[in-house]
């Protein structure tokens, strides 16, 4: 047993989980996009909201790209299996992100072919389907997918040479038939809207928009709590996919799908992860509650809810991959399920990548520094007249 290799595999699962958690937090941009007509009643108000979110859209996009790249580098078998198999889910996600990228830049430009409204609807569609589909896809980490993996197939000359292949005809779309997956998808959608509202409240100085956001916050919190609780209770009570913890590092460990209360037990056996989860949930609720129940307009809720979101999602993803858990289970061929030990890159590559990862705090530091500089002053309606670059 190579303990250094095991540590590297666990470290990279942590980093990928952290990137995933940051991505879900940054989806406040998507959530905010679905609110442009709800919170903005005039053309100027909508432009103000879109510009407020538009200052950050590239970060969500870049985090998504980096998340993909990091997953590819650290767990290439997941990249090969999930992207190459759940083709339609990932293609749909990509399509809805493509239309987002251009919509910000094109929306307010003269002669933009499709008209302002079309680009606004592109933003709404990205906000709706981008979040729901990503959440649904992540739901399969707990419920399983229909695929098989056989490395030897690459030598199957004249026959089927594909190492990882999907075993269902819907190429991933069947994930929407599982209520647990859908519940997570919808929870992510409503959470993104909540974060979007809190972000807008923290970044815009406009009483009317703030008042509308506060009202909407309640309407979105209720479905969020329903779907999130449903998802959490379901996965805590269901049987899980995993292997004996003694088999850590063994890429040929026998996978089982009948481990009772697996994900609940993961929290019990990893109390720090459980604590992160609980602190995260409290943070999200505190962010929402402090905004809802303080009499005057409280605008700092995004800080609590944002940190809370990162911690909650991080804890959930760590739960899915650590402690002898198969993070991408196969319901078609159980032994094809992916674990952090059978799907990771080599020790050499993980080591090289780990050296590169030492730059991450530096990257986060300059991002924070530049965000502070740009966001020092809240946006007001007048800004959309005076700014030289307007979305």
């Amino acid at each position: 047993m190579d303990t250094t290799y095991i540590l590297l595999q666990q470290y990279w699962w942590f980093l990928v989980s952290l990137l995933g958690a940051l991505l879900v937090f940054l989806m406040f941009v998507q959530g905010g996009q679905t609110l442009i007509y709800t919170l903005g009643k005039t053309e100027d108000e909508r432009t103000l909201i879109i510009n407020c979110l538009g200052h950050k859209w590239e970060f969500t996009f870049t985090t998504l790209v980096t998340f993909g790249g990091a997953f590819f580098a650290s767990f290439p078998l997941f990249y090969s299996t999930s992207f190459g198999g759940a083709y339609w889910v990932w293609m749909a996600i990509l399509l809805f992100f493509v239309v987002q990228a251009v919509s910000y830049e094109f929306r307010s430009k003269a002669n933009n072919l499709l008209g302002k409204k079309t680009y606004e609807w592109f933003l709404i569609l990205n906000g709706l389907f981008g979040t729901v589909l990503v959440g649904t896809a992540v739901g399969t980490f707990f419920t399983g997918s229909m695929f098989s993996v056989s490395q030897e197939k690459i030598a199957n000359l004249g026959g089927n040479m594909t190492i990882s292949q999907w075993e269902g005809p819907a190429y991933g779309l069947e994930a929407v038939l599982n209520p647990i997956n859908v519940a997570l998808g919808l929870a992510v959608f409503f959470l993104a809207r909540i974060l979007g509202m809190l972000y807008i409240m923290n970044s815009i100085d406009n009483d009317r928009i703030l008042a509308r956001a506060k009202k909407q916050l309640l309407y979105n919190t209720i479905p969020f709590l329903v779907f999130f609780l449903f998802f959490t209770v379901c996965i805590m009570l269901k049987n899980g996919f995993g292997f004996s913890v003694e088999d850590a590092g063994n890429s040929k460990a026998i996978i089982r799908d009948d481990l009772p209360y697996k994900y609940f037990n993961n929290f019990i056996q990893m109390p720090v992860v459980a604590a992160l989860f609980l602190i995260g949930v409290v943070g999200v609720l505190w962010g929402i509650g402090s905004t809802l129940f303080v009499r005057s307009i409280y605008t700092r809720g995004i800080w609590f809810a944002g940190v809370g979101t990162v911690l909650t999602v991080l804890a959930l993803l760590l739960n899915a991959g650590w402690n002898g858990t198969a993070y991408y289970p196969s319901t078609s061929d159980l032994q094809s399920s992916l674990t952090i030990y059978n799907s990771s890159s080599s020790k050499f590559t993980l080591t090289a990548m780990s050296v590169v990862s030492l730059f991450i705090p530096f990257v986060l530091a300059y991002i924070a520094c530049m965000w502070r500089l740009i966001n020092r002053k809240k946006l007001v309606l007048n800004d959309i007249q005076t700014e030289s670059h307007i979305y």
Binding site: H55, K56, E58, F59, F61, T62, L64, V65, G68, G69, A70, F72, A73, P76, Y79, S80, S82, F83, G84, G85, Y87, M91, L94, V98, Q100, A101, V102, E105, F106, K109, N112, L114, Q151, E152, I154, A155, L157, G158, G159, N160, M161, T162, I163, S164, Q165, W166, Y171, S345, S346, F348, T349, A352, V356, F359, V363, Y366, M370, L373, I374, H389
Partner: protein, 520 residues
């Protein structure tokens, strides 16, 4: 049989989809690579002189950059994920090496570009001049740093180094990061590709400025922009030509079939000439008696020199590479493609035996199979072919694309020299034909830029990884109809976005920077 039918269809649609995405992506990226540096240069002049003229000039080019930037990002996202969606075997077989540059690109380059581009666009009234200038330079460095990592990945596909096959995991694993990073193919490719982007951006700036001069508008802005662009373009062209030469030298050693296809060279000889211009015989196939060219104007012995730094060196043609028997540079005798296929099959069979022996716990058989696998691994990818001629790329496409790229490249050098000479001359005036030529060069530079990638990628066919993994063994197992649908979806979407992008650009250009012709 059925599997072969499935493969040919899904491989072709997947190749088409990847080519479509890459080509659309490459419409937008090269401009970003170059214009960000020119903006940073112009802004440096603004900060040094404090002259508002340069600030307005910078803002105009930033607007053009911003419109272009968004579509580049969007298409780039799809490209990254298409490695997984359409090439799942590839993602596992080489993901251990290929994934790392993509992840590093995200961590080190994309965030830098994204963070500082936000300061560039929204920071004018929020940060000091020097901070803004720093952000502009870092945006340019970020964009080019991202190009470095993706081109390291691409260079590795052309010339796989720094790795070893692991039969226990059925994949290639990195064993030398520095060899991957400093792969000569990758380094040459990086400098050649980014400088081609600089040339493209410089030509676009000159073309747009020429339009203003023709209309008699924004004269000072146009001339100053031409000055910056022609100097930048000329310096970039020097590096471009130098790295183009290095590329030819590199390709001769690592991808001789690509070089032969680029030259339409079937029968090799000592002291081979470089085809300046020619018409390859339509329908010419390997093994037939047709002449290679209907017409061919050669520069004597130049190809031998470009490829091997020796005017009398032997350059193998397609026939030679297929049949073998010629003397390689190291003195060995080249083997035929049929022999490579045989050895490739032996490697694949040995891998199979190794896997089975390992499952049964028969270490002696496993070790023997492993030895045979490694003895033949150099030709592993050839084992997937039945027909030796399947390894020949599309010759006319490579031949014409290469010449389009090279000759247009020299036209752009001519435009840079001419433009620079005129703007530096006292009372120098652009004649109308120069302005029209400059405007015409804008579509031409995009054609040249695309042609360069056609040579690089079509010349590598049928390999995804040179000699190791052909496209037929790299593809995902999905319905070809699914890929066909997404291909057309992307085609329609990208076309609409391109039209919108061009319409917006034209409108913004027509608006102009609105600078009075004050002195600078």
């Amino acid at each position: 049989m059925l599997d072969n039918l499935f493969l040919s269809s899904v491989v072709e649609w997947s190749r088409l989809q990847f080519a479509l995405t890459a080509m659309f992506h490459w419409i937008f990226v090269p401009f970003t690579l170059g214009i960000t540096f020119m903006i940073a240069i112009m802004e440096t002049i603004y900060v040094k002189t404090g002259n508002e003229f340069w600030k307005k000039t910078v803002k105009f080019w930033m607007t053009i950059f911003g419109i272009n930037f968004a579509v580049g990002i969007a298409t780039g996202l799809i490209l990254e994920f298409e490695f997984g969606t359409n090439w799942s075997n590839y993602s596992w077989f080489v993901g251990d090496i290929f994934g790392a540059p993509l992840a590093i690109e995200g961590i080190l380059a994309f965030f830098m570009e994204t963070t500082f581009v936000a300061v560039m666009f929204f920071g004018w009234n929020k940060v000091g001049r020097k901070t803004h200038l720093t952000a502009s330079w870092l945006t340019a460095f970020g964009a080019n740093l991202s190009a470095l990592w993706i081109l390291v990945a691409n260079g590795w596909m052309q010339n796989p180094v720094g790795m070893e096959f692991n039969p226990d995991t059925a994949r290639n694993e990195m064993n030398n990061f520095w060899e991957v990073l400093f792969n000569p193919t990758a380094i040459t490719k990086f400098f050649h590709t980014v400088t081609s982007g600089y040339v493209l951006a410089a030509i676009v700036v000159i073309g747009i400025s020429a339009w203003f001069l023709l209309r008699g508008r924004e004269l000072l802005f146009a001339k100053k922009s031409i000055l910056v662009a022609s100097v930048f373009g000329l310096l970039s062209s020097a590096v471009l030509i130098f790295t183009g030469d290095s590329s030819a030298h590199n390709v001769a050693h690592t991808q001789p079939m690509k070089l032969a296809a680029m030259e339409g060279l079937y029968k090799g000889q000592e002291g081979t000439g470089f085809s300046m211009f020619g018409i390859p015989t339509p329908g010419k196939k390997y093994g037939d008696d047709k002449d290679a060219f209907v017409f061919n104007l050669e520069f004597p012995k130049l190809l031998s020199f470009l490829g091997y730094r020796n005017f009398n060196a032997f350059v193998p043609g397609i026939d030679d590479l297929m049949k073998g028997g010629f003397k390689e540079e190291d003195g060995s005798i080249a083997i035929s493609v049929e022999e490579k296929i045989r050895r490739g099959r032996a490697a694949i069979e040995a891998y199979k035996e190794y896997s089975e022996a390992k499952k049964k716990g028969n270490e002696v058989v496993a070790e023997d199979a492993k030895a045979r696998l490694f003895n033949n691994f150099k030709y592993y990818g050839y084992g997937y072919f039945n027909d030796p001629s399947g390894i020949i790329p599309n010759v006319p496409l490579c031949y014409y694309s290469f010449r389009i790229m090279v000759w247009l490249g020299f036209l752009f050098v001519f435009i840079f020299v001419l433009s620079l000479w005129i703007v530096l001359k006292k009372n120098g005036n652009f004649q109308k034909w120069i302005l029209y030529l400059s405007i015409l060069s804008v579509p031409l530079v995009y054609i040249a830029s695309q042609a360069g990638w056609v040579v690089a990628e079509m010349g590598r066919q049928p390999w995804t990884i040179q000699d190791l993994l052909p496209t037929i063994a790299a593809v995902s197992r999905i319905d070809s109809s699914s890929v066909m649908i997404t291909f057309f979806l992307f085609l329609i979407l990208f076309t609409i976005l391109l039209i919108a992008d061009i319409k917006i650009l034209f409108t913004q250009i027509r608006k102009g920077p609105k600078i009075s012709n004050e002195s600078v």
